[in-house]
Amino acid sequence: MTTPLIEARGLVKRYGTTDALRGASLRLLPGEVLAVTGPSGSGKSTLLHCMAGIVRPDEGEVRYGAERLDQAGENRRSTLRRTDFGVVFQFGQLVGELTALDNVALPLLLAGTSRAAAHKSAGTWLERFGVLGQAGLRPGEMSGGQGQRVALARAMVTAPKAVFADEPTGALDSLAGEQVMTALVHAARESGTSVLLVTHDAQIAAYADREATVRDGVVETEDEPAAEVTR
């Protein structure tokens, strides 16, 4: 059996008096696109946050290689976000004050890459996702689909091991959503990046190799991994 890239076991997360997760376990395999579906409020976003190291679970463990993300400190988890992981949310992940180019270059700039080098990679990824023409615009000046493609470029610019996408097409019409999903899946497959894709939309989940469904804070079903991840 393939060793998972990230494995969550028995995650519990409480917000106030509500339990977002009540013992959720999930494996994200290297190079696969895994869809996590479920009704709203089922805890799928919280599961993604925990596996991406954005939020620390109250109980349970998240393994990334030999590392325990649930125990890693704030700095280590921040560093991982600009080296090994990328995130794409429904909205809000771009800095409204920065141009698309600066936004994409941001993880590199934060890691101390020179401005010229960071902008060069950022430009390459913007072109790759067809939004190089928007490089000088700020998120408020772009269409939703363009903004999400800029967010994709940002998630991919560090050549991450995994991209965490939480309803990346949630605010888009279906054609713009199709473009974003196609771009994401193609780019991920080409670079061997795993994608954890949270969505409530089966048509979006159909871009993934496998599906896991979440209900009431636990993973209800998880497709068996294919013998080998195709393509």
């Binding site: 949310f89 004050e97 890691a111 940002r154």
Partner: protein
């Protein structure tokens, strides 16, 4: 160092793309820094008068500058003027707070460590305050030149040295002290920002995702305020009942009573706002109800905005009473006090300083109302969309200031009178200080309402239906 450089570049890139509110915040912060720098520089100049850096024996028309024993008082007054400036800057930092929190969250999500975010935020403050401080320095030097030129021109044939000057422009610029002020003030502000950003910079999911629960107003928190006020009054009465000579009780009492009153006022302001809110929200009139509900929902906002005004009322009334009683006493026996003009001049100068402080305070209030109008635009737009007439909303905004502020000012003024009570009673009793205190309280309230009204044009933008669209 390179990390600092790249952070600075990022901060600059963000500043260039920042919305208007952010620019306002930085501009007003800079203005505050400029004002504070000005006061500190003036204090530095007064500090060197009469020393070996001070360019000769002091000879000015204002006695406060001539007497070596009085100059520390002048310096203290100038430095105290920085307090309302700080309150003003504090109000300004709340402008666009939500937007800023969102920006920091986005940075964290992109992999910035909490430290990096704090550094970027502190750098913004450092830049704004640095520019403000430099502007303050330039302004001060320019003013000095202008005053100097004016005094030279007015000096006539006698030569400037023989004639008493109004302004100490003959004092050489104490560059070392100036440098310390111009560098130190932004440094302090930056350190302050570094510490206050500690909480803001932690959550990568930010305000959008985090479930925000309004801080619950706990009744226990209502206790310390009135208790402190009661204790202070008790102490005061005790001090007055024991007649230990004319001066001892007064000074002993003020040393303890004034801080107690200050503490009591500051801690009871939120409770008062909540109480007024409860009263108002029971009324059937829409404007009162809206204002009342809002006060009940967040009494801390009102208390934050009104603290400085309460302080102004307390200190202002105290000052007026002392001044009135002291001057009346002097005027009663003119033969023993040939230097009456000197005292009058001194009190007037202190009054001027107080007036400047009040002006800064009221500006801070205007900023806080403007900030609250823009921050709450979704709520206001929803109220307008649901059919609330704009007139009612305007009235509600005014009431939101007036309801908690009126009793707060009255209470503060009463405390001011109480602190100076022993002094009043020891001398001949008269009703004039009471009248003056009432006038001051009324004036402060009127000025506060004017400042609130000045922010009302913003309401037009805040109630626009476009504010209801999903952000």
């Amino acid at each position: 160092m390179s990390a600092l450089r790249s952070d600075a570049l990022l901060a600059w890139a963000m500043l260039r793309g920042s919305p208007r509110s952010e620019r306002w915040r930085l501009a007003l912060t800079g203005l505050g820094a400029a004002l504070g720098t000005g006061f500190a520089l003036a204090a530095a100049v007064v500090a060197v008068i009469g020393t070996r850096y001070g360019g000769g024996p002091p000879s000015y028309t204002n006695g406060l500058l001539n007497e070596g024993g009085l100059r520390p008082g002048v310096i203290t007054a100038l430095l105290l003027l920085i307090v309302p400036v700080l309150a003003f800057v504090g109000q300004c930092t709340r402008i666009g707070a939500l937007q800023r929190e969102r920006r920091f969250a986005a940075l964290r999500l992109a992999g910035a460590t909490p430290r990096q975010v704090r550094r970027i935020g502190a750098l913004e403050t450092a830049a704004a305050c640095g520019v403000g401080s430099l502007a303050g320095l330039t302004g001060f030097l320019a003013l000095r030149l202008v005053l100097h030129a004016g005094q030279q021109a007015g000096g006539g044939d006698g030569g400037p040295q023989q004639r008493a000057l109004t302004w100490p422009t003959d004092v050489p610029v104490p560059w070392a002290a100036f440098l310390a002020v111009v560098l130190g003030l932004p440094l302090l502000a930056t350190l302050e920002a570094w510490f206050t950003l500690r909480r803001a910079a932690t959550d990568p999911l930010g305000a959008a995702v985090r479930r925000r629960r309004p801080r619950r107003f706990r009744r226990v928190r209502l206790l310390p305020g009135p208790l402190a006020l009661l204790a202070a009054t008790g102490l005061l009465l005790m001090a007055m009942s024991r007649k230990l000579g004319p001066d001892t009780p007064f000074f002993a009492a003020t040393g303890l009573v004034l801080p107690l009153y200050l503490f009591g006022l500051l801690t009871s302001s939120a409770g008062m706002a909540a109480a007024m809110g409860r009263l108002a929200s029971r009324s059937g009139r829409p404007a009162l109800m809206i204002a009342g509900k809002r006060l009940r929902a967040d009494p801390w906002a009102a208390s934050r905005a009104h603290t400085a005004v309460m302080l102004a009322a307390l200190i202002g009334v105290g000052y007026l009473t002392v001044r009135r009683v002291a001057l009346d006493a002097l005027r009663a026996e003119p033969e023993h006090h040939p230097d009456l003009a000197f005292y009058v001049g001194g009190y007037n100068l202190a009054g001027l300083a107080l007036l400047i402080g009040v002006a800064v305070t009221i500006s801070g209030l205007a900023v806080s109302v403007a900030e609250s109008l823009t921050a709450r635009r979704r709520t206001l737009a929803a109220l307008a969309a649901a059919g609330t007439p704009r007139k009612v909303l305007r009235r509600a905004v005014l009431l939101e200031t007036a309801l908690p502020l009126a009793p707060a000012i009255v209470l503060s003024a009463a405390c001011g009178l109480a602190v100076t009570g022993p002094f009043l009673v020891a001398r001949a009793w008269s009703a004039r200080p009471l009248l003056e205190a009432a006038l001051l309280a009324g004036g402060l309230l009127a000025a506060s309402l004017l400042a609130t009204a000045a922010s009302l044009p913003l309401l037009r933008y805040s109630v626009h239906p476009a504010q209801l669209r999903y952000e």
